[in-house]
């Protein structure tokens, strides 16, 4: 199956060949393994059903969720494939469909999950804004920043680096955006957790002190921004020093020279 570094366009023949590698029937041993593990878990946890249930539910969830995903994705892939083959320049709905999937299915779900994971949230009570916006302000903010980050980075990947043909090819767009969304989602949920707990407990008096001595809010919140960014990026950063450098560059724009 080694094809070298040449970009390969998936032909229908090749696809079928790949699909044949793993059939529903050949997945059965995996299910059997999970059942065996759940039985082992039942005895290992002192004849309690909880662990066993968890293992089985996880198996069922994986199967059901991914089957649903496939039933959503495979019509989309087929449609785009057929449209690019026929080359109807007039009614090419494929890019709209792919982008619609990314921005109207993946984006709202990711923003919802990211904003609802944190223990604390923000409900500004200012009278000027509408009630709907006040209650969902975190969701809206998260959605806007996810949209910015993923469309920027996705554009870099699609138009600058990978350059698939056509550019909206769903087998490039959807996995790439999916990975970007998923990672940004977990970073944002960590960021929200830390930001709100710091604002409410740890940094509250410090910010008040700085404000009462005449500082503006932007400068008073730089230490908090630094700690939020470095801890929410930590899982990805670890050995990647250049992100630390980016954070430092960003924070050093301010006049704060603490620590």
């Amino acid at each position: 199956m080694y094809n070298g570094d040449k970009p390969q366009h998936p032909s229908p023949k090749l696809n079928r060949q790949h699909d044949d590698e793993l059939t529903w029937k050949s997945l059965l041993p995996a299910v059997v393994v999970s059942i065996l593990v759940s039985i082992a878990a039942y005895y290992a946890c002192g004849n309690t059903i909880e662990m066993m249930e968890d293992v089985l539910v996880a198996t069922i969830r994986t199967v059901v969720q991914l089957t649903l995903l496939v039933s959503l994705l495979s019509p989309l892939f087929k449609l785009v494939d057929s449209q690019t083959k026929i080359k109807t320049t007039k009614y090419n709905t494929a890019p709209l469909l792919v982008l619609g999937y990314v921005f109207f299915f993946m984006l709202p779900l990711a923003a919802w999950e990211a904003s609802s994971r944190s223990k604390l949230t923000l409900h500004p009570m200012s009278i000027n804004n509408s009630l709907l916006l006040n209650n969902n302000i975190v969701l809206v903010i998260v959605m806007v920043s996810l949209l910015t980050a993923v469309s920027l980075m996705g554009a870099v990947a699609l138009f600058v680096i990978v350059k698939p043909k056509p550019w909206y090819s769903p087998r490039h767009v959807i996995p790439l955006c999916g990975m970007l969304f998923n990672n940004a989602l977990s970073a944002i949920s960590v960021c929200l957790d830390i930001l709100f707990s710091e604002l409410q407990l740890k940094q509250r008096d410090t910010i008040e002190l700085m404000c009462s001595f005449g500082s503006d809010t932007w400068s008073a919140t730089r230490p908090i921004l630094r700690s939020v960014l470095s801890s929410s990026m930590a899982p990805q950063v670890c050995a990647h020093l250049f992100v630390k450098y980016m954070v430092c560059l960003y924070v050093s724009l301010s006049r704060v020279s603490f620590e």
Binding site: S116, P124, I141, S145, L209
Partner: protein, 339 residues
């Protein structure tokens, strides 16, 4: 992440390898996605944090009371409630509790009395008129009317603990004090040298009317010296040298000139009180709101601090419980008490 690629092959590379790509191509894809993920994470978290930080301030004061528990349902909870309804019921339903128990509707009125008659004729240095500002979760209502007639006066605010002295001082300084003016009869008007507070920007107002908290927060990093360096750019009328020198002057008078370079976390309560007060006096605000700024000091040190306060000519509104101090220092006596 540092371990990545040694044993576990990362996700995108695995996918490519399984689909039949060469290891070269798979690794290149993985490198690309790694860098894009890092940049994307940085952009999205920085943006979220920055926009949220704009929204959590009102009038330049941190509204930490706007942050409350998140009771929105997660997508993953929703999915598991659909798939395994018998298991996840407890995690979704029944967690909501009414936090606002407004059963106890008795409202305590707090009133401020001054030993000076309210004189409307002459132009007072500072005047405040507060009608029914409700605070402490709408359990208390404050009414206050007082003036500080002349520049250089020292007004002493007294009252039992928890009556709302800090609340009053903070709301004068436009900080988040928890005081709400929701009822139609409630209002707050503050004027300084005949100018109304509304004509100032919050940040500008706080430079004129400086609130000094009772204690510094434990998370304040750096030293008093770095704090001076931090706040100096916001006060265009002072230079860093003069501010540091004057602070040092006050600290020398307070017998602790050596603490300027020590970190806040190493200072004792009394030392950090003196440091904050010295910086505040050196900034020369129009009015200094001192919230029990001498509470952690011994008596002889209190005398020294009072001496410096009088000598500096600053107008001060100070909270104090010390009867002797009130007799010594106060030219205006304000007492806050529940009616």
């Amino acid at each position: 992440m540092a371990f990545k690629g040694l044993v576990a092959i990362p996700g995108m590379m695995t996918g490519n390898l399984l689909a039949g790509s060469s290891p070269h191509k798979a690794a290149k894809y993985q490198m690309m996605i790694m860098i894009l993920i890092l940049s994307g994470n940085f952009i999205s978290t920085a943006m979220t944090t920055e926009i949220l930080l704009w929204n959590v301030f009102e009038n330049g004061a941190l509204r930490d009371d706007w942050i409350d528990n998140n009771d929105s349902i997660r997508v993953s909870q929703l999915i598991s409630s659909i798939m395994v309804p018998w298991k996840s019921q407890s995690s979704i339903g029944g967690t909501k509790q009414d936090s606002e128990s407004t059963l106890d509707s008795s409202v305590i009125d707090v009133k401020l009395t001054s030993d000076r008659e309210l004189t409307n004729s002459d132009n007072p240095f500072f005047s405040l008129s507060l009608r029914e500002g409700s605070f402490a979760n709408n359990k208390r209502k404050m009414t206050a009317d007082f003036t500080v007639p002349n520049s250089g006066d020292i007004a002493i605010l007294e009252g039992v603990s928890g009556v709302g002295k800090s609340t009053l001082l903070k709301s004068i300084a436009m900080l988040n004090s928890g005081m709400i003016f929701s009822a139609s009869a409630s209002s707050m008007a503050v004027s300084l040298q005949g100018k109304d507070r509304d004509s100032f920007l919050p940040q500008e107002w706080r430079k004129q009317v400086l609130y000094v908290p009772q204690q510094i927060s434990s998370t304040l990093g750096g030293t008093p010296e770095s704090f001076i360096r931090f706040i100096e750019p916001f006060h265009p009328h002072v230079t860093l040298e003069s501010l540091t020198l004057q602070t040092l002057g006050y600290l020398t008078a307070f017998d602790c000139a050596n603490i300027l370079e020590q970190s806040w976390s190493e200072l004792s309560g009394g030392e950090s009180q003196r440091a904050l007060l010295s910086i505040a006096l050196a900034l020369k605000p129009k009015i200094l709101l001192a919230d029990e700024s001498t509470s952690a000091l011994p008596n002889d040190m209190k005398l020294k601090v009072e001496e410096e306060m009088k000598r500096s000519g600053a107008t001060i509104i100070m909270v104090s419980h010390d009867v002797e101090q009130i007799k010594r220092l106060g030219t205006v006596r304000l007492s806050l008490a529940a009616v």
